[in-house]
Each structure stands twice: as C-alpha cells, then as structure tokens.
C-alpha cells in the first residue's frame, strides 16, 4: 500500500510547488516521500516576531491514515520555540498530531495549525514536565502518549 502514501504526498508536493505555501511557511527540502522540512515563522505581532523555526515531517507507509511524525528541528544550531506545548527536544504536544489526527488533514494544514499555535501564545515558557520528558523521550514523538492538557 505504499502507492497511497506516495500518490498522496506527490499530490501534496505538486500543489505546494504550484500554489506556494501560506505566508510564513516555506518548503525547505522534500527530496523523497519519507522526510520533509519546512521553515515556519509567525507573521504579524506575536511573541515570536522575527524568529524562524524548522519543522520536520516524517511519513510512514500508512500516511495519511496514520499521522506524520512532526517535530521542530533542534540540531545544527537550530532550536525549538519556547512554548508551553513544545519540548526542548522539539517534540510537540498537539492533539491533531495524535488522537485528533484526521486523514483529510495535510502537511500544509499541520504547518498552519502549528503556526497559529505559536501566534496565540501568551507566555513564552517550556512545558512544566519538560526536563523529565526530554530525559526519557522516544526518538519518534508518535511513540509518546501525550496527555492533552486542555482537553475538555
């Protein structure tokens, strides 16, 4: 069933290339259908003004039925934004990457969501359990069972 994930990603890539990304989001690298990189920036007034971050997407053969593994890049001098839902290792606690993932969401949709997650932030701080989490975190953030704090 690699064909579905490949066909779907090819289509997404084609649209990105033909239509461009939404403002503040740029495709950095997408040489294969396994890992893509984007740069992300919050436009307008926000706590993250003039800051630019790199997002990494990893896809398995079950994409888009299963969610992509998404995280901020924290190597090569890059850092993750300081945000209550972003761990210092780049892992992101966002329900749409976990139990609220839907196969109709796309890579761009995820970028836009994360962009506005940053835009709406009121206070720059790390998650309270950052140190404990980072010490034992798995390589793939999808293996973490996040507890979504603000769940109703």
């Amino acid at each position: 069933m690699t064909s579905i994930s490949t066909r779907r990603l090819a289509k997404e890539l084609k649209e990105i290339q033909s239509q461009g990304c939404p403002v503040g989001i740029e495709l950095l690298k997408a040489d294969d259908f396994a890992t893509w990189w984007f740069s992300i920036q919050v436009m307008g007034e926000s706590l993250y003004q003039d800051e630019k971050y790199t997002l990494q997407f990893r896809f398995d053969s079950q994409y888009p039925i299963s969610s992509p593994a998404v995280q901020f890049v924290v190597t090569d001098g890059k850092e993750a934004p300081i945000h209550p839902h972003v761990y210092s290792n780049g892992h992101i606690c966002a329900s749409i990457l976990g139990n609220e993932w839907s196969p109709v969401l796309s890579v761009i949709a995820v970028c836009v969501t994360l962009q506005s997650m940053l835009a709406s932030c009121k206070k720059k701080e790390r998650p309270t359990d950052n140190d404990r989490y980072v010490r034992h975190a798995p390589d793939n953030p999808k293996k973490t069972r996040f507890h979504y704090d603000d769940d109703e």
Binding site: R7, S95, T113
Partner: protein, 583 residues
C-alpha cells in the same frame, strides 16, 4: 445489571466450600447477551439496532443510566454518542482568519481543511486558552462532498484518486471517501490500535462509524464481484477482531464478567459472587473458562506425557494471578508475591538449590521431588527442608512444617531483630519455593518413570491400564504441592494463636502425606514389585486427596466465618491486633 439472570447455571452437584459458583461463556454466548441488551434498548427507546449498540457502548453498557439520560435529553445523548450531528447555528460558523491565496484551480483541493482547521484551532492544538469559541458550536459540518458530487468528478480527499468508477461511502455527515481509504482506515484502527469506537475520517467530525457500516466496508455483500482473496481474508480477520474487541469492551464494563487470560482464548467467565472487592475477603474465586490447552504452544515432552496440553484454563476471577492460589485469599496472595519479588533475590535462594550433607559436608543437589535425602557418599539420611535426620520424620513426630518460635527467640537474643525477621521469612519462603520446585521435579521424574513402564509393558505381561496408576498420583501430588505452597504464604501472615496452630496441623498432615506419596513414586520400579507399588500408590493417593480436601475446606470455612486473624494489615480485613504484628 441483570446479567445474573441471563447467565443462570445449573449447579453441578453439591458445591464445596472452597469452590465458587460460576459459569463459563463462549464468545458467541456473550455476543448473544449483547444482542439481547441491544434489542432491549431498541424496544424501549425506539431506535435503530446499530444506534442501540452505539448508545450502549457509549454508556458502558449501563442500561438504566442510558435509558434515564435518553428519556431526559435524547438529542444530547445522540450527539455525545456520535450518532447524529449537532444542530449548527449558522451565526456561529467561524469565519476563516486566513485563507490560502487561492486561484480557481485550487477550489478542488480541500481548502476547507485550512479554514476549518483554523476554526477548530482552539480544540485542535489546545494551545490557546483564550480562544472564545465555545466547545458546543465550534464544529461545523462541511458540505463539500454533496456539492462536488454533482458539480465535478469525485476526488477522494485522502488518496486523491479520481477514477470515475470509484466506490464512495459516507456516514450521515456526508463526508465521502473512497471505499479503499475507508478499508485502510478501519483496518488500521481495529488491527493496529485495537479501537472499537471509530470516528468519521473527516477532521473534527464526531460521528461514530456504526457496526453495519464497518461490516459493509470489510465484508463484501453476497453476490458482489470476487475481489482479491488475500485481501478479503485479511478484511474478514479484521472484522472478527472487531467483534472480539466489542466483546472485550462489554466484558470489561461488567464486574460480573472476566475475560479468560490464557493466550488466544476468547472465552468469558461469569462469577457474580466474586464481583465485589469485599467478597474477596471471604472466598477465593478460582474459575475455569472451560477451554483446555494453549493454541500454538509447544510443550515439553514430560508435559505432553502428563496430558498437560489439555490442561484446563484455571485462573483467579478476583485478581491477576493466573493460577490456582487456594486456599489463600487474593489480598494475602498478592502481598506474599510482592514480598517474594522484593526480598527473594538473595543468596539464600541460590543456597536452596544445593546443600551440604549434615554428616559429611558433601555438596548435594536435589534432583527429585522427594525431601528424603540419602547422601551418596556417607549414606546419611536427612530431610532436605529442615536438614534434620530423616528418622525423626518417619515417626509420628514431624516438625518440618513449623517455624520453631523458641529457636526464633534464641536467635533474637544473639542476633538483630532484622536478622530474625529475615529468618522467619526465609523459613516460609524456602518451603514455598521447595513445593514449587518439587512439583516440577515430580513431573520430570514421572516422564522418566513412564518411559520405563512403557518398556516394561513390552517386556512383561503387564497391560497399559496396569501401568497407568502413576499418572493419577503425580497429578495429585502436583495439585497438593500447589495447595501446600500457598499454605506457607498464608501461615507467614497468620497471627499467632490456636487458629494458626490448627492450620499448621492440617498443613503438616497434608505435607507428610504428600512426601510419603512422593517417596513411593521415586522407589525403583521392577516388574515383580509393580502390584505392591500399585497398591501403595493407590491407597496413598486417596489419602492425600482427602488431606487436601480438609486443608481447602477448613481454610475456606475459616474465611467465611472470619476466623483468620493476620499479623499484618491486609486489604479488606480489620487491622491486626497490635500484639499480633510480626516483626
């Protein structure tokens, strides 16, 4: 819940005091009572069958609560259970804050996912607490698929397939996807995630996929064109797994039911008398699901020869211990196992596998189930457990099962309190571990014996039946050693007093009988002494059986009467008398 009535059993003969009333149910029997419940709800609430099933699952099979809340606010219940869409107030449909710079060609692409995504950001990323959209109306059902169906060819929003022959499917929310994507999605949720509560694939859509829909996706309708057989077999497996998940959920919701813990077994046991935590202080609910053997597991030769591949699925209804821990109640058994895990990784354990002859100091390893040791070198006979001379065990005086409190006091004089406490623990632990080990060794020994008897059957005039008496005896020894093993866990926690002495008397009688039988089982077998051995073994087996009954019956009655007092705090029991607390 009135399951007790549905699952009525005809009690098989007179129940013993250490046995518990229960019934074992196959998966189809449980499915039947699920259907009955759904039928009941369907009749009362006047809803579709699939709706009744989803409502029950959503309310965790609590029929009373479901009926009550449904009578109060049917729409709300249907919405929260994911059966219908919430009413949408057109005013509240959020306006997109940011849209893609779209040209005409992009209209086919689900741009709505971008705008809708933003609308649900407050629930989606959970990042902004300040968001003002209320949780009840943030959801707006997109109405894209219906329009696009008539206007332009259908493109599956997941795989982007636009084949005009594509079979599309949608729930009542009209989110259409191709049947291939539905199949992949449902299969991945059921098979990989073990989920039985599956939502529509559209982002933010809260509708739950009804059983009928799942079936129509996974199982081709009769008369449908024949598809790929491998794929169909896989889908049928997913559908079967879904059925099993539903049964497991139903069983998990009902305290009267427990799923058989044996690998790949799908039976359920109903045991209402052990459903409450309180009941576990008065009975040990050992049950069997009725099935035997373990699918796909290879057994050692000795196990096979004992017919162990047909071993019934015994487990405890009250706790996670997957074996018979009678006569000890669950909270005490749990305490003991925890203590053994914490304290037993000591050199003392290694020590219990080899010992020195008390006479000539040769190192001896135990290689049979019997405790009567004879030193190969100096012919000194002694007891493996207490290391005392065997002659003392053979007579009426038999002190091996009892921790000598007097000796304990002397030990306290010379050694620290903690040392005495460790010794006390090791006294019970060594006997516990010894019975476990001996039971295994008896089975191994039997394998050798059986081989020998088979040979004799060929070389002598004995028939197959005549060499079978050992089997019953070994089975009985194994069973009794299991009882004995747990009596040491019990005795460790019993408060000192007459009750404990009586308990240890019964324990001693059983232990002596078992060791005697074990010894006969190890005596050399020759064709000429077979009738004699057979006589002895048969008699002893009957006696051992009787002693085991006595221990089990008396202990069980003691729990029913509240006779047993502990030397430590046990979950569900009164706190121990301060004077009884063990060091």
């Amino acid at each position: 819940m009135d399951l007790g009535d549905d699952f009525k059993v005809s009690s098989k003969g007179k129940r013993k005091s250490y046995e518990v009333d229960y019934d074992s149910l196959s998966q189809s029997a449980v499915e039947k009572s699920m259907r009955d419940d759904a039928e009941h709800i369907r009749g009362i609430l006047g809803v579709e069958n699939d709706t009744a099933k989803l409502l029950l699952r959503h309310s965790e099979w609590n029929k009373e609560k479901l009926i009550e809340s449904y009578m109060d606010t049917p729409t709300k219940v249907l919405v929260t259970a994911g059966i219908i869409l919430p009413e949408v107030d057109p005013q509240s449909t959020p306006t997109p804050i940011r849209t893609q710079t779209s040209n005409s060609s992009s209209s086919r692409r689900p741009t709505r996912s971008t705008s809708k995504l933003l609308s649900s950001l407050s629930s989606g990323s959970r990042s902004s607490k300040s968001s003002s959209s209320s949780p009840t109306n943030h959801y707006s059902p997109p109405k894209v698929s219906k329009l696009s169906k008539s206007d332009e060819p259908f493109v599956c929003p997941i795989c982007f397939d636009d084949d005009p022959k594509l079979r599309t499917m949608a729930l009542s929310c009209d989110h259409s996807f191709c049947s291939n994507c539905w199949t992949n999605y449902l299969a991945s949720k059921i098979r990989d995630e073990g989920e039985h509560y599956l939502r529509c694939m559209a982002e933010g859509c809260a509708l739950v996929v009804p059983d009928g829909f799942i079936q129509s996706v996974l199982i081709p309708e009769p008369g449908a064109p024949i598809g790929d057989p491998a794929e169909e077999a896989e889908n049928a497996k997913v559908w079967a797994r879904f059925q099993e998940l539903l049964v497991r959920h139903f069983v998990g919701c009902n305290p009267n039911l427990k799923f058989c813990p044996y690998p790949s077994c799908t039976n359920t046991v109903s045991c209402p008398s052990a459903a409450s935590k309180l009941s576990l202080t008065t009975l040990v609910p050992i049950v069997s699901c009725g099935a035997r053997g373990i699918g796909g597991q290879t057994l050692s030769q000795s196990q096979q020869s004992l017919g162990l591949q047909g071993k019934e699925h015994l487990f405890c209804f009250g706790c996670p211990i997957e074996s018979d821990h009678r006569p000890v109640v669950c909270p005490v058994a749990k305490m003991w196992l925890k203590k053994c895990r914490d304290d037993s990784e000591t050199a003392n354990w290694i020590k219990s596998n080899t010992k020195e002859c008390t006479n000539c100091q040769s190192t001896i390893e135990k290689n049979g189930g019997c405790n009567h040791m004879t030193c190969k070198k100096c012919k000194h006979e002694f007891c493996w457990v207490c290391m005392g001379p065997w002659s003392e065990h053979g007579t009426a005086w038999y002190s091996c099962n009892r921790y000598d409190e007097k000796a304990g006091q002397e030990a306290r004089d010379s050694q620290s309190r903690s040392r005495a406490s460790l010794e006390r623990y090791l006294h019970y632990y060594n006997r516990w571990a010894n019975h476990e080990q001996s039971a295994k060794l008896s089975v191994d020994l039997y394998a050798k014996t059986e081989k020998k008897m088979e040979e004799m059957q060929i070389t002598s005039a004995l028939t197959w039946i005549e060499v079978q008496f050992m089997k019953k005896a070994v089975e009985e020894v194994e069973k009794c050693r299991r009882t004995l093993k747990w009596t040491y866990a019990m005795a460790y926690y019993l408060a000192k007093g007459n009750e404990k002495e009586l308990f240890e008397d019964n324990q001693r009688d059983l232990e002596k009988a078992v060791e005697d039988l074990s010894e006969i089982l190890e005596s050399p077998i020759e064709p000429e002494n077979i009738p004699n051995i057979r006589q002895q073994v048969t008699n002893k087996t009957v006696y051992v059986q009787k002693r085991n009954e006595i221990v089990l019956e008396d202990t069980a009655n003691g729990f029913l009467d509240g006779r047993w007092k502990w030397n430590a705090t046990v979950d569900g029991f009164d706190d121990p008398d301060p004077s009884a607390i063990a060091l």
